[in-house]
Symmetry: C2
Subunit: 322 residues, 2 copies
């Protein structure tokens, strides 16, 4: 594994011209970067007509910053993979397919060339899995040991699944299992739920969807209609790691990158069939964890219901990226 | 003019939650930010079909970093305006029209809320002039006094003007005047050459185009074919400021954001008519400053020809952003 900061000047990006740096970075992205004008090399990338065959275009931007989203000792490959996949998770949550990525970065001269190439190989690894092309970007020098890379990802979708369609009585589901994402390393190695999002986009009963980045207890509010609340069945939450205060961690830890979604107008029998069909189509487990219910007051709340049916308000609002 | 760093905690972005910060920033962008799902508020922006009516999509990314592209004492409004316009300049140089912008930023808790809103108002001012909509973005906290904002701009174009079409004998032109961009403040207040780029895209003789960001003496190499060189007539270079070593500054200073382009297969009479028509259509002056010529050796070079016809190689390679 390469080290983040170069031990000799000749192995640092500070020893390269801007053009050489871009050439090294783009070289490590091959074959995921087409030649210009589609790929890097002109003033803009030219994305040919027909690039977005499902017609609506999805666009999302997210960054990784050294010291914040990953540490100097994190594998550069894993950090690069995470950068693409956290953006792809946003596309997945709307039922779309990622197509094109652009990067914009700030790179300290101290960063090791080899480390930066490993980062690019992580981007490439993730891009090849999901069929994304890199089509250019921008690089600026940074002070001290600073490194950040911002990625904009464009995707395509027929009918996007919005956050805003849930209504009272809807069933609440999540994919996979939740919590301990940092301890387990899943915040780096997760796979974006693209095929799962595609399955949901084809299912007429899905009323809302988002991906879990700040923790269920926080992100649930993004899909609650005004004045409605969520009731979560504590014993149905799929817990990744049963050590410590595992329920709280599953509700409050950030960076699960699982899908949180709601289903409307379904009987128990239909919901059981949905769960079986979902598993058969995607090989991914899903859990029905709650319902959209009326609020006691005017505000939206999160209620936990324990195995005895006792209902309490849950106050923790999860992980904040800021 | 608001100050960059807040004097009291309550006036700093550190006193806001991530959601409040985004709400303040987006509020200052109104009416340039449509409601979700097109504008910010869902996992991705949904750009409806028909958003890119001229069919090819142009995409470019550029950032501004506090201390590098502008200073703490720079007007936040000007810095915001610059961020959008330097991206729009890349779209203009391919003959396109900007449509959608996304931002991704790193913001220190010390930054003043009022300063950030002024920055957003600068973005909005530039966006309203050229008809751009903001459709979301991302924000992360930064250490110390760090501030950067990265912008991805999408545009539309029928037939893009590439950097790669020039050939031996082509005439070399620039719009406007060059040099002293920092001293004069034009690096902040320039207007992207969109209508000029549109005029060029409709003219069949334009063989290559790029915008001048690192200085003519550097950027000329981006449009030179392999093994061809550029001959620049020293007395034809449009100099903005005649003080000091003005020719060198005009060739080497960065951030002119003028268009550099080449015309093929034109007689002197046709070129004169082109210059008149360009001025009539755009109200912008252009100067014919040189020719694409054969290289003495294998490498591309830049030659200066003085008023006596004496030709010398020009070695300075302009401003480096890195």
């Amino acid at each position: 594994m390469s080290e983040c900061f170069a031990r000799e000047f000749s192995k640092s990006v500070g020893s390269l011209s801007e053009k050489e740096l871009i050439r090294r970075f783009c070289g490590a992205l091959k074959p995921c970067m087409p030649p210009p004008p589609e790929g890097a090399g002109d003033d803009c990338a030219v994305l040919p007509k027909g690039s977005f065959p499902q017609k609506n275009i999805l666009s999302t931007s997210d960054a990784v910053i050294l010291g914040r989203h990953f540490l100097p000792e994190t594998s550069a490959f894993d950090a690069g993979r995470k950068l693409l996949n956290r953006n792809a998770s946003d596309i997945a949550s709307m039922g779309g397919v990622p197509v094109y990525a652009m990067t914009s970065s700030i790179i300290s001269p101290k960063i090791s060339i080899e480390w930066l190439e490993d980062f690019a190989r992580g981007l490439k690894f993730a891009a090849q899995k999901i069929g994304v092309k890199f089509v250019g970007g921008d690089v600026a020098g940074g002070d001290g040991g600073f490194f950040s890379m911002h990625l904009t990802l464009l995707g395509t979708v027929g009918h996007p699944i919005l956050r805003s369609g849930a209504k009272r009585g809807d069933r609440i589901f999540v994919t996979g299992s939740l919590g301990a994402s940092f301890e387990s390393g899943r915040h780096l190695t997760f796979e974006p739920r693209i095929k799962e999002g595609l399955f949901l986009a084809k299912c007429g009963n899905v009323s809302a969807c988002s991906d879990l980045s700040d923790g269920l207890a926080s992100d649930i509010f993004d899909i609650l209609p005004d004045g409605e609340s969520a009731e979560i069945f504590a014993d149905k939450v799929p817990i990744f790691d049963f050590s410590g205060n595992c329920l709280k961690k599953s509700l409050c830890d950030g960076e699960d990158y699982e899908l949180l979604f709601t289903l409307s107008n379904m009987s128990d029998l239909e919901a059981d069939a949905f769960i079986r069909n979902f598993k058969a189509a995607t090989s991914t487990e899903i859990s029905e964890i709650g319902r959209i219910v009326p609020s006691a007051g005017e505000k939206s709340n999160l209620y936990l219901v324990d195995a005895f049916g006792v209902k309490t308000e849950f106050k923790n609002t999860g992980f904040s990226h800021f």
